[in-house]
């Protein structure tokens, strides 16, 4: 009976520790990440981003350059656990929604940083690509990659 209890409690305790660690570290990292995203997005001289196919014609014609930004982000243990529970009953997966939102915004910000380093003022025809890099189970989105790319417009003076 005692051996049975130890065998039962051991894995439960490990799962409990992982969940607690995941919950607190995940929440802390997400808060920090959102603060950094918002600070960079609202920076006064941020490069403008457009999904429009072509830039408006202007003279003199600007120089163009392909720019991209990417990020690989992982869900924490707690988020994955909640998502696992959610998949039993269906509905919105809030925990993954915020993960994808952060990844997309971060990828766009990195693309903007690259464009800014080139002296660009605008980026046109922005495309976003998302890929899940599954762990052992290819169906689970344990971590995902987001790539943002577009053409930077560098004005000629």
């Amino acid at each position: 009976m005692e051996i049975f209890l130890i065998q039962l409690i051991g894995p439960l305790a490990i799962a409990g520790v992982l969940l607690t660690v995941g919950f607190f570290s995940g929440r802390y990292l997400e808060k920090k990440h959102y603060a950094s995203i918002i600070a960079r997005e609202t920076a006064p001289d941020q490069v403008m981003v457009f999904a429009t196919r072509l830039p408006p014609p202007e003279l003199p014609a600007p120089a163009t350059q392909l720019v991209s930004g990417s990020v690989v982000i992982s869900a924490d243990y707690f988020k994955r656990f909640i998502a696992g529970l959610r998949m039993l009953i269906g509905g919105r997966l809030n925990t993954y929604e915020s993960l994808l939102d952060r990844a997309r915004r971060e990828a766009i910000l990195r693309m903007q940083e690259e464009a800014k380093a080139l002296g660009a003022t605008q980026i046109f025809n922005v495309k976003l690509e998302t890929m899940s890099i599954g762990g052992r189970n290819p169906n689970s989105i344990s971590c995902l990659e987001v790539l943002a790319y577009g053409t930077a417009i560098i004005p000629r003076n």
């Binding site: 570290s25 690989v72 924490d76 025809n125 690509e129 599954g134 790539l147 053409t151």
Partner: protein
């Protein structure tokens, strides 16, 4: 070589079309990085090793596409698209394609 994902290059005229050019690479992840990633799977956050790995692979795919375009005599690639697919567990294919053209 001018790379762009627009269909035209502002202020430049296309004098010749050479057709589709492409580059791809298939990469597997590395055990060391995988161990670091499994820790991150508990804590959450960015996997910097993977970001770098995928960026390097994408650069390689682009370099292959550029080499193909140069062999044709093109000086620009327009309408570039990136595509990614996981071909097996732990391996991904990074694919890039575009239209090779000559600009005046």
């Amino acid at each position: 070589m001018l790379l762009t994902n627009l269909e035209v290059v502002p202020g430049r005229r296309i004098v010749a079309h050479y057709g589709l050019v492409q580059g791809s690479t298939v990469r597997a992840k590395h055990v060391g990085r995988d161990i670091a990633a499994s820790f991150k799977n508990v804590f959450g956050g960015e996997l910097k090793g993977y970001t770098e790995l995928l960026n390097d692979s994408r650069e390689e795919a682009t370099a292959r596409m550029v080499a193909q375009a140069q062999a044709m005599g093109a000086n620009a690639i327009l309408n570039i698209r990136f595509a990614t697919s996981s071909v097996a567990v732990g391996a991904a294919e990074l694919f890039v394609y575009g239209t090779a053209v000559a600009l005046e």
